[in-house]
Amino acid sequence: MVGVSDHSPANPAATEAPPRRSFGRFNLEIRQHISPLRQTLVLLAGLAVGLVATAIVLMAAGVTLRGIYEEFILSIFSSSMSVSAVLVQTAPLLVVGLSAVVAFRVRFWNIGIEGQMIFGSIFATFIAIHNIGPESLRLPIMFAAAAVGGMLWILIPAFLKLRLGINEIISTLLLNYVAFNFLLYLLYGPWKDPVSAFPHSEQYELVERLPALGWANLTWALPLALILAVVIWWLLNVSRFGFYARFVDSNPKMAAAVGVPIAFVTLASALLSGAISGVGGFVVSAGIEGRMTQSFFLGYTFSGILIAFLARNNPLIAILVAAFVGVLFVAGQSLQVFYQIPGAMVQLIQAIIVIAVAASEFFIRYRVHRVRGAG
């Protein structure tokens, strides 16, 4: 894959040690500056390549080009039913995207979003099952409980990272499995639905579900997520805390030297990220499903990472990206019904898009020169 083929075999030194050209005939120039417009264009080009690759994969799986157009564009935007399906899906996606944004801003790789969602939902469901608090305050209590649940679940890896330097990628991820098994224990054991004996929690009462907005099947989950996005934007881009966080991200040594409380900023960001993921669990359980199921969290970790990554850690752009991923989810469901394409396709598409956009960053950071006649 590296073009070292053009050096002359007549030169014995060349066969012994290849000349100093580890990427063949191409030289890289590090860009000192790139205009925001150009940067956006390169990223959009990367996105376009990802979408073309997606189309190729879909066609290989037996969907025609016409079918792709119908499922991803026509049917999504032609009926208010599917528009609302996308918006319903957007709410939890935006919330987990915000969770990832907050953590990644301080380079805390929170790969435990699903585990924190599980604990958020468990805490909220505990409030719902035991009818804690007056009915008028039930939802706010569940919301707060979910935030606390998610926060407690990230407290362990955050502590381990700050105190012992233990890699948070692995610890947050491992705790997903622990949380999942605990969820199964609850749902197959003490919290099994007493009405149907199915392994999900009993249905939340009406006061424990986010109220309907009055259009299609939208609930207050979406406005809640949007408000959260604005609050996080304010926190990260306007407040002093956000300034510190950017400082820690761009130059930790300098930040420490001028007295920024790095450990506090990192810990607070991590805890906030966990709390938001916990709220994500609450949004799915109380805003969409009306109970805690055994798979409500599936796939949200990667979608959250994807959203934060594509939105360049910007909470407001995350709204758009979350809606885009929402389209993917809804189109994926209809592909499943009409073309028997497995649900894994949605995951594959997301991975392809991340890879394409990540690859396009190369062209933002470097300018590639072709060196003629080298060798």
Binding site: M1, R20, L160, S171, L174, Y177, A344
Partner: protein, 309 residues
């Protein structure tokens, strides 16, 4: 006593996937490439292995195919982190999700999901297998178990005693110095990624072809992540990684046997133990001192010749 022999004789089968995956990761990371895609690579090997058994009916050939298929998919990772210098954390995570999606998609389109296969048979060693106690534990295993220790010797010898191994480690410690000494950094890193992925894929193939004898979505169940933790615990030392793998094989082999002897622990709490044990092992390793000394110097850092450091 029966319980003990039964348990211990099952450890090698459970330890081999951890051991081979950790060894593959060490090989890759010695070249300075942080490989977080292990969970995905294991899934790829596991799916390819089961598919190959269904198509060819040859478990041994299937293991080879598992390793090769994983090496091929790792080229995507190599292109990302070596050629395009993508952030290795992002690229590794993307590989995990790419492989999760891809394996689940291929298996369900091909109808390979949840199909029981004729897996790898045990290969008792004549004469030795009948020795009481030692026989069942050491000499009634399958061929991959017997080969694991030689593979460890081979990789250790390669890394420590060959020139290519020395260059590979140099690339991982200080790519700039290696580069100016005429070592092709991109080539060595790509090779290390592919060879490491092949071992991780073999680990995955062993998991599905020899242990589970079936493919189900996501069947690696976090073992790739545990292997990553094992490498940190072992401080990039193959033999310590093997010890860690045996420890985790022991825990996994114990889980189904606890219930069998009538100890009442809810099964879901039992199923948590490998993950909690991994965390504890990482905590223990952290208490023993900083990892930085043993970590390859350039781990996770892309090499760009034009960049001044």
């Amino acid at each position: 006593m029966d319980f003990l022999v039964n348990w211990v004789s099952n450890i090698p089968g459970f330890a081999v996937p951890f051991a081979l995956a950790a060894l593959g990761l060490i090989l890759t990371e010695k070249s300075g490439v942080l490989s977080l895609g292990a969970e995905g690579f294991m899934l790829m090997g596991a799916m390819a292995g089961v598919g190959a058994v269904i198509v060819t009916g040859e478990p041994l050939l299937a293991l080879v195919i598992a390793a090769l298929a994983t090496a091929v998919i790792s080229l995507v990772f190599a292109a990302l982190v070596v050629t395009l210098r993508v952030n290795q954390v992002i690229a590794g995570l993307a590989m995990v999700f790419l492989c999760q999606g891809l394996t689940s998609l291929i298996a369900s389109l091909q109808g390979w999901s949840s199909v029981a296969i004729v897996g790898l048979a045990d290969l008792p060693i004549p004469g030795l297998a009948d020795i009481p106690l030692v026989g069942p534990i050491l000499f009634q295993q399958d061929i991959v178990v017997y080969l694991t220790v030689p593979i460890f010797f081979a990789v250790q010898w390669f890394l420590q005693r060959t020139e290519v191994g020395l260059r590979l480690r140099a690339v991982g410690e200080n790519p700039e110095a290696a580069d100016s000494a005429g070592v092709n950094v991109a080539l060595y890193r790509t090779g290390a990624i592919m060879a490491g992925a092949a071992l991780v894929g073999l680990a995955g193939g062993y998991l599905s072809v020899a242990v589970a004898k079936i493919w189900v979505d996501g069947m690696a169940g976090g073992r790739g992540w545990i292997a990553i933790a094992l490498v940190i615990f072992a401080r990039w030392h193959p033999w310590r990684a093997l010890l860690g793998a045996i420890l985790f094989g022991g825990i996994e082999a114990l889980i189904p046997r606890i219930a069998a002897v009538g100890i009442q622990v809810p099964q879901y709490f039992m199923l948590m133990t490998p993950y909690i044990a991994t965390l504890l092992v990482m905590i223990w390793a952290a208490f023993r001192g900083s990892m930085r000394l043993d970590e390859p110097g350039a781990l996770g850092r892309p090499h760009v010749r034009e960049e001044r450091r």
